[in-house]
């Protein structure tokens, strides 16, 4: 089967030509695909920002999909069971963002805990989200308090 040899028929392609054609078409296809993909990807990026970085981004922040990470500021957590609406302030120690979330917050949510919320920043200065994740200890042991917020992104787990 595979070792049978025959000469190229008139009009047919030789093995070498065929391979060149194959490799060439695959490369062209992948290049085209890469172009489409990178355009599509840039429309669908999710930024991992802390409040400080969110403000630093200026106008770029509005409308972008953002994962905002920080700690729930003490005394700001407010859960309205009837309206199923949650309000809180997320801080990174330097800047603060008011967050409005819809849906029931996870059981473990409380003040002082690290959270990551995914959503968008409105012009009114309120961060709207319907996806709230609570910091979870990565090693599955009692976590220490006051972990750097960069680390937060690696340790969220969640009710998504």
């Amino acid at each position: 089967m595979s070792d049978s040899t025959s000469t190229a028929p008139p009009g047919g392609l030789t093995a070498k030509q065929r391979r060149t054609f194959l490799v060439g078409s695959v490369l062209v296809a992948l290049l085209a695909l890469g172009g489409i993909a990178s355009v599509d990807m840039s429309d669908n990026l999710v930024y991992f920002w802390e409040p400080r970085e969110l403000y630093a981004a200026g106008d770029d922040a509005y409308g972008a999909q953002i994962r905002l990470g920080g700690l729930v500021k003490e005394g700001t957590l407010n859960w309205d069971e009837g309206a199923q609406e949650l309000k809180m302030v997320v801080t990174d120690g330097q800047a603060e963002v008011t967050v409005h979330a819809t849906g029931a917050p996870p059981q473990m949510l409380r003040e002082g805990i690290g959270v990551v919320v995914e959503g968008t920043m409105t012009r009114e200065g309120v961060f709207k989200t319907d996806r709230l994740m609570v910091k979870h200890s990565n090693e599955y042991r009692a976590p220490q308090e006051g972990v750097a917020t960069k680390e937060l992104y690696k340790t969220v787990e969640g009710l998504e």
Binding site: A37, L45, A104, Q107, M108, Y140, T155, V156
Partner: protein, 672 residues
């Protein structure tokens, strides 16, 4: 004591690997029978030692020997035995040991298989396989040594494994299945490398290669499916796939392996695409290495990345090494393989073309997933900015490809090998096209989106072709031999295992595609605040919150919400979503409750409970046809196993099978 013995076993395995790898390459280059004997001995020794080391670790876990650091890290006296047994893969170091164990088992089986094959191929393949083994034995012996003795005081009890992994029985079978799939891709890689090194690729070698790939593919498929199922049953967000980097990591080698299985058919039949097929086999292994790196080095956050470890750079180095070796091999030796390719006279409308297009789609799919997965990593490395690529990207890129693949599943089998006229092809496709139209109309009536409609159409199209291909030969027997249809089908299926198995896999894919389209299109989700005794209506159900209770087990306590489910004609049952509190953890972990049915699943997940237990928030979802996804996945797995099942022996002695073929088949059986 166990630390010492374990370390010794691993070091011995490392030594066996090193000697075996060198003698394998030397034996291959010099065609030296003595060197091959040494290689085979070393390969067997490596396999046995790796398995022995793993069994020893299991022993340490079961006997709670906390003087072993790994046991101290994941063991706990209060953990049930079956969870203790699977703690082997619940943390980094143990999982690398398990990797080595699976590779060891695979090496043992493969060493038996190559006995009847060309000695030069066998030498090179074992040499390559042991080189991979060398790396993993090195990890287990050094950086990721699970046998390291516990530092300081030996604890009397440990924290137990990650509670998420204790929550469901699927966690016991998902990892080993995925590991079998991942790790055994090393064998096709080694075989492809051997063919390139030897500069020859015979039909028998290719056949063994393909069967190993199919075996690994079957378990990779099962592992991915079980992972999705676990995520659905345990994580409480009601989904099974989120284009998470870790999921992508397992999906990419699956894509290239699938492409390989198709191009291998073209190669075996037509003698074409040798270099391309080997490239796919090698890429698959590279992608499994990349996947292991992504899941184990902690570059991504997920349930799978255990901790920040120093394993990452070493792993990257190894991937680079394998990549360079593969590219050099392919560049240098490809011509030797393709020189005797049969020149083609295939027409454009032929099965080969369909396979080629299939391969292009699969590779394109892999490429887009790879881009979306690696882009955030590269971006962060360059700019320190953390981003991720959102799900919409993956969905948008993959949907057209998936629908294309679905349609090709119908087109390919309808076309004959070689050449055909457009008119003939058209006549064969008329019925499937009508089915496709019916599928599209159904989708439109159900008010599905355009992609779901296309998926239903493609599924109906492929389904008609697949059923036709399965039944046509049986019907021929019915009319020529006068057998009954079931008997004729079984007799035929027993002979044409590979073909029938392949079409069964296609059936599974079609079922999965429909299920995914239906469950993602028609899913309904709502958060319901409930007070005890309150009844709310949700998607044709009425849910009544009966109250909370507490269950206590040795390793956890659970808050259980009892929700009665009422349908139009009375009580349908009770769902009890839970919130589990583990001793070692501050945060609770939920366990959703699912009422599964052929039509749809009702999914309840407990989000929060008030302190007095009088009110609770429940996330309720209705997802149509999810159960079909698990069923379709099992059909795929079953089809692959059917295809692999050895012919001959007792049950069906096929008179038409050539004796040579039968021995190859027996030899090619990947595992006991």
């Amino acid at each position: 004591m166990i630390s010492l013995i374990g370390r010794t076993l691993v070091l011995a395995a490392l030594g066996a690997c090193a000697v075996g790898a060198v003698s394998g390459f030397v034996g291959g280059a010099r065609r030296d029978a003595d060197a091959l004997r040494i290689t085979r001995f070393m390969a067997n020794a490596f396999g046995a030692l790796m398995v022995a080391a793993t069994l020893l670790m299991e022993w340490a876990l079961v006997t709670h020997d906390f003087s072993v650091s790994y046991v101290a890290a994941v063991g706990s006296l209060s953990t049930p035995l079956h969870i203790t047994l699977v703690s082997l893969w619940s943390s980094l170091n143990g999982s690398i040991l398990f990797w080595g164990c699976v590779l060891g088992g695979g090496t043992l089986a493969f060493t038996r298989h190559v006995k009847e094959h060309d000695p030069q191929h066998a030498s090179y393949a074992l040499g390559s396989l042991l080189s991979v083994g060398l790396f993993f034995a090195f990890l287990v012996a050094g950086i990721a040594n699970p046998f390291a003795p516990t530092e300081g005081l030996i604890p009397t009890d440990g924290p137990g494994p990650n509670p998420l992994l204790q929550n469901h029985l699927l966690m016991i079978i998902h990892p080993p299945s995925l590991y079998l799939g991942y790790v055994l891709m090393a064998v096709p890689y080694a075989m492809a490398a051997a063919a390139l090194l030897a500069g020859r690729l015979e039909a028998t070698w290719m056949r063994l290669l393909r069967r190993w790939m199919l075996f690994a593919w079957a378990f990779l498929s099962l592992g991915i499916l079980l992972g999705g199922w676990w995520s659905y049953e345990v994580l409480g967000w009601g989904g099974y796939w989120a284009w998470d980097p870790v999921e992508n990591a397992s999906f990419m080698p699956w894509l290239t392996a699938t492409a390989f299985l198709h191009s291998a058919m073209v190669m075996e039949r037509q003698g074409q695409l040798k270099g391309w097929t080997l490239t796919l086999a090698m890429s698959t292994f590279l992608l499994t290495l990349l996947g292991t790196f992504m899941t184990r080095s902690g570059v991504f956050n997920s349930v799978h990345s255990f901790t920040q470890s120093s394993i990452g750079p070493v792993f990257l180095g190894f991937i680079a090494l394998v990549l360079i070796a593969s590219v050099v091999l392919l560049a240098a030796r490809l011509d030797a393989l393709t020189a005797n390719d049969k020149a083609t006279e295939d027409g454009v409308v032929s099965r080969e073309s369909a396979f080629l297009l299939n391969n292009l789609l699969f590779v394109a799919f892999t490429f887009t997933v790879l881009l979306g997965t690696l882009f955030p990593l590269i971006k962060e490395a360059l700019t320190e900015e953390r981003i991720s690529v959102g799900e919409p990207y993956f969905n948008r890129m993959s949907l057209p490809v998936c629908v294309g693949i679905l349609f090709l599943m119908g087109v390919g089998p309808s076309l004959p090998w070689g050449n055909t006229s457009g008119a003939r092809a058209w006549s064969r496709l008329r019925l499937p096209l009508r089915a496709a139209a019916a599928g599209a109309v159904l989708g439109a009536v159900l008010q599905a989106g355009p992609w779901a409609i296309a998926t239903f159409a493609g599924a109906a199209f492929a389904l008609v072709v697949t059923v036709h291909e399965l039944l046509e030969p049986a019907q021929a027997r019915v009319s020529s031999l006068g057998e009954s249809l079931p008997k004729a089908f079984l007799a035929y299926a027993a002979r044409a295992r590979q073909r029938v198995g392949g079409y069964i896999v296609h059936l599974g894919v079609i079922i999965c595609a429909v299920s995914i389209a239906a469950s993602s299109t028609f899913k309904v989700q709502r958060d319901l605040p409930l007070a005890v005794g309150q009844e709310v209506a949700f998607e044709g159900y009425r849910l009544r919150f009966e109250g909370m209770r507490t269950e206590t087990e040795p390793h956890r306590t659970a808050q259980v919400a009892t929700v009665a489910i009422l349908g139009p004609s009375g009580t349908l049952g009770v769902l009890e979503p839970k919130m589990n509190h583990y001793k070692q953890m501050r945060e609770p972990i939920g366990t959703p409750a699912v009422r599964s049915g052929l039509k749809e699943d009702l999914y309840l997940s407990l989000v929060r409970v008030s302190a007095d237990g009088a009110t609770a928030s429940v996330r309720a979802m209705v997802e149509p046809m999810v159960a079909w996804l698990w069923f379709g996945g099992l059909v795929m797995f079953g089809g692959a196993l059917f295809s692999l099942w050895p012919r001959g022996r007792a049950v069906v002695a096929s008179p038409s099978a050539a004796p040579v073929d039968a021995t190859v088949d027996a030899a090619a059986r990947p595992a006991k």
